[in-house]
Amino acid sequence: MERFGNYGSSTDSKNVAYEIYGDRFHTDQTLYEYLIEFLLIFCSPKSDENNYSEGRMAFHKEGDDLHYFAEIKMGLKRFIFYNASKKTTSIPFDKDAYNYLLEALQKKMDLDSIKTKETVSYLQDLLRGYAVVLKKRSWCAQQTLPICPELIFPEAMPNQKERLKVVGSGDDIKVDSEFEFAQRNFLARGGEVYYLHILQALQNMDESEKEELEYLLSHLLTQQSRKLSMIARFVQDTWIDRLHLTDTQTDLLYQEYNLAWIPADAYGDAGKHTVEELISFLSANIQQINKIEIFAQGLMLQVLRMLYTGACNKAHLRQKPWIIDMSNGNSKNIKKISSRSFRQVEDDFRIAISETVHSKLLDEKETLQRIKDAQKVSLDIFRSKGKEMRCIIPVSGPFERFTLSEDVLRFLVLAIIEPGGKMTLDSFMNKIYQHFNIVVGPKQYRIACQNILQPADAAEANMLEENVKYFQSYLNSIGCLKELSDATSIVMNSYSKVERE
């Protein structure tokens, strides 16, 4: 099998899902952590030379070693999350480290004593206000919205037992460096597979597109939040000062990660679409936090497309349409059509997994176990993330089917139509079919049937007319539709375009 990326050893090479998709998708990675991991790789230095100054805010160049060096920033993370988290799993050194940092910050403020204390607390409230992955995790495993490079953290697991053995005190560098940074439980390589998917596509595209994407991603992380970066940097640098590191210890502030691999032919043309969609989406001037929130959903939609494309390519299947139900439960017919479409898509996942496992000629027990394991990290992720994004409904119960949530539809509009652009509703529905296999109306339904060599059912096609009306009204309700006249609408991206400086 040809591979794209490093030829490193897989963490679980027995799982055939890795053979289909690459190394790897994992169930525990949350929706935001796909985006966080992708952006972490993008903005981290790609080399440890020259004081970690190379390759920040850029994709790997052809011929580069596929690794990156993430700044661990545990001081900043402790400042944001420590005091607001459960302390049952923390060790005393962290409490000391936290207090030392507060003390050091206060010393760096030329304000009166009341204002000094207030300012520290305001900074903490401010940064904590951007928290995004909390769940019931220990403070070190939490995450913020990735709104500036300083607030994108690598994974850190408590590693309590080991740390208790080796950490000397709260202001020893070991208080930070002995966390487990490479377990990949949460930043579990899903964002990395996505990164490799883009990197692979960029190799076959113009250099200018790579530059544009790099510019837009960098713009996303810096333009509106430049001063937020200053605040975060101030906190982290204050902590680094307090640690009084020797020259040889500065390397402990970074953690090296190697990128794994994806099969070279897994995702076909999807990569080109992914890059073009990202460029269009990121070109819109939107409030940064809104943009990041929609980005997280859009990225996940692109990952769902990767999962399905990978399955179909592996088993040489024609991709079935994702017939979405926009009727909000108001049409039993559309519900049935969409639900059948979802089952067909599920079947394709099963076929791809089953064929791959069977080709290994294992005994029956092993075969079943392998199928189960592979489904867990492919089809189950497809289903659970689809449900989390409200693109697959219902959350539980029968008639599982495709639909679109508000944020995902917004992403589709911004990803398909450039800022300031507009197109007819019909063209928009054609485009989302071409890009995502998403079928809304009868016209796309007929094309999809032709593409999968199945006869189009005239009655079903007619039923989808109603779906178009629901879709139209949904687009209208999120403000992306404009009635021209006479039942003709245009879909528009009314945002202005990010101008390159």
Partner: protein, 558 residues
């Protein structure tokens, strides 16, 4: 004796299911058509296009019922060309001697012929001739784009729908062809009501009624006479009602209006029906909303414009005039003698006021003599309605009150409160999805003095140069925002000022606010200073905020 004119009015609406003349193309042959024809301001603009020695394809598009074919009829008649109502396409010779291919309704051609007709039009223009085409929008877009090669289609589609959406009246070159695309939906049609009603009430056919034996109790004649006597108030209310609908996204077509306005005289009854009834029943103030007396007429509600009017539920709103109407029962001071008599009679005959208060309010909208438009419009429509109309349709310029409404609204949107002391508007980087951040990061701020409101003539005003129609925009640092301030936005800003938090705001409205924020952000980021000062907003328990500014320099905060 049956009045043919009344019969004609009844063919203009669909109350009885027969509206043979409601469709423009069937209407031209009626002897009353020319009498009631309202000249469309757009007419002169298109004539100018046909006379400008710059051959092009004029594409007139819009909703069904918007009066496109009637407009073609008017134009050809005005320039002395004949309108061939029997043919789908015909050639006219313009006063300049140029040839013009007229396509009466492009949408009516079978699908397989549309591309061919479009190609013929393109060839016509290429040979230095004019084409004047009326078409529904969907088929027009599909056929025009479909007449190009696959490779060109995306680009042609973008330019074509952009021109249609801009509706500037300019001649544009798309795919190598000169086009003037006019989307009638985007032009003002509210003027129609007053001119149409004027023509109806002044029509000579009413003179026949003078000799009719039923004239004393004929509600149709009564409605006509009442409208003559209450013309100003009636026209004013109807105009404002149509503007209100238009502003809130429910623009009516000329056909919709014609149906409602014709029905408000007759109530769907003709001369043969006429019998003595209580006079209040068929008053046009009731018929306009689809009521007969105090009861809703379900059949009338099938007429779209009537349904929309009823849905406004104006009569359920609290008016300041309620006191005079219902506490003091002082009808003589509000209405003419004739109307006051009808009310007296109604109360006497029915013994109780039950259900009549709403009907009296409907009468008040049309027949009120002590005109106090400002107060009534605030109550019936909205507090900002009259001011909005002034800014939009007159040369009135925004004043301090208007600007302060905008400033207060922006402060509330960004910080949740209006700070009397603050001289700046902080632009915050916060999460919006229901997540409260007590400390918010300020990207930058805008001096409140640099925020203004401005009016400028609408682009589409080239279609009717005599009528003032402005766009109202917020200006920040002398830069006008693209987002227009619409009536719903004005009303929303007024709600914010009064502390009304509406959690269920309309999508187009929230999109408008989102656009304003995105544009403000653009301005702020372009002007962002490079200094190291950081500003935060700290929310206080009393709902106000405190702004903290510090600078980070050389690893220290001061």
């Amino acid at each position: 004796m049956e009045n043919e004119f009344v019969k004609y009015l009844n063919t203009l609406h669909s109350y009885n299911g027969h509206n043979s003349n409601a469709f423009g193309e069937k209407n031209y042959t009626s002897k009353y058509y020319d009498d009631l024809m309202v000249e469309v301001p757009l007419c002169d603009f298109i004539i100018k296009q046909l006379n400008d020695s710059d051959p092009k394809i004029i594409m007139l598009t819009g909703h069904a019922g918007d009066g496109k074919t009637s407009l073609m009829y008017q134009i050809l008649k005005k320039i002395g060309c004949s309108f061939d109502s029997e043919s789908e396409q015909f050639e006219a010779v313009l006063p300049s001697g140029s040839k013009c291919l007229c396509i009466k309704d492009f949408s009516e051609f079978p699908d397989d012929k549309k591309i061919g007709i479009m190609q013929k039009s393109k060839d016509y223009q290429n040979s230095g001739n004019y084409v004047f085409m009326v078409a529904n929008t969907g088929p027009l877009i599909n056929s025009f784009i479909g007449s190009f090669d696959e490779k060109q289609r995306d680009e042609v589609e973008g330019s074509f729908i952009d021109a249609m959406d801009q509706n500037s009246g300019n001649t544009v070159i798309i795919g190598g062809y000169k086009l003037c695309i006019i989307n009638i939906v985007k032009t003002d049609n509210v003027y129609f009501a007053q001119e149409f009603l004027n023509k109806v009430i002044n029509h000579q056919a009413w003179s026949q009624c003078e000799n009719c034996q039923k004239k004393k109790f004929c509600h149709i004649l009564r409605n006509r006479n009442l409208m003559l006597a209450n013309k100003d108030n009636t026209f004013d209310f109807i105009k404002k009602h149509y503007i209100w609908l238009q502003e809130y996204g429910k623009r009516l077509t000329i056909r919709n209006m014609t149906q409602q306005l014709a029905f408000m005289f007759t109530g769907g009854r003709d001369c043969t029906y006429m019998r003595e009834t209580e006079p209040y029943l068929f008053l046009y103030s009731n018929l306009f909303f689809g009521y007969i007396g105090r009861n809703i007429d379900e059949d009338a509600q099938k007429i779209p414009a009537i349904r929309e009017a009823a849905a406004c539920k104006y009569e359920e709103k609290r008016l300041r005039a309620d006191e005079v109407l219902f506490l003091r029962d002082d009808y003589d001071s509000v209405f003419s003698k004739e109307i006051a008599n009808i009310i007296d009679l109604t109360l006497k005959m029915n013994g109780s006021r039950n259900g009549f208060n709403e009907m009296f309010k409907r009468m008040y909208f049309f027949f009120n003599m002590c005109i106090n438009h400002d107060v009534d419009d605030e109550d019936i429509f909205s507090k900002q309605f009259d001011r909005y109309l002034d800014l939009k349709y007159t040369s009135s310029k925004p004043g301090n009150k208007d600007t302060s409404l905008i400033k207060n609204a922006l402060q509330t949107i960004y910080t949740g409160t209006v700070s009397e002391k603050s001289t700046v508007l902080p632009i915050t980087l916060n999460r919006e999805s229901g997540y409260t951040q007590n400390v918010q990061f300020v990207i930058d701020d805008i001096k409140l003095t640099s925020i203004q409101l401005k009016t400028e003539r609408k682009k589409q005003s080239c279609f009717d140069e005599l009528v003032v129609n402005n766009d109202i925009r917020i200006v920040i640092n002398k830069q006008p925002l693209r987002q227009e301030i619409t009536l719903p936005l004005f009303d929303y800003f007024e709600d914010l000022k009064n502390g009304v938090i509406n959690t269920n705001i309309d999508a187009q409205l929230s999109k408008g606010i989102e656009n304003i924020k995105a544009e403000i952000l653009d301005i702020v980021l372009k002007d962002e200073s490079d200094d190291d000062s950081v500003a935060l907003i700290v929310m206080q328990e009393n709902g106000n905020y405190e702004q903290r500014i510090f600078s980070i320099d050389d690893g220290r905060i001061s």
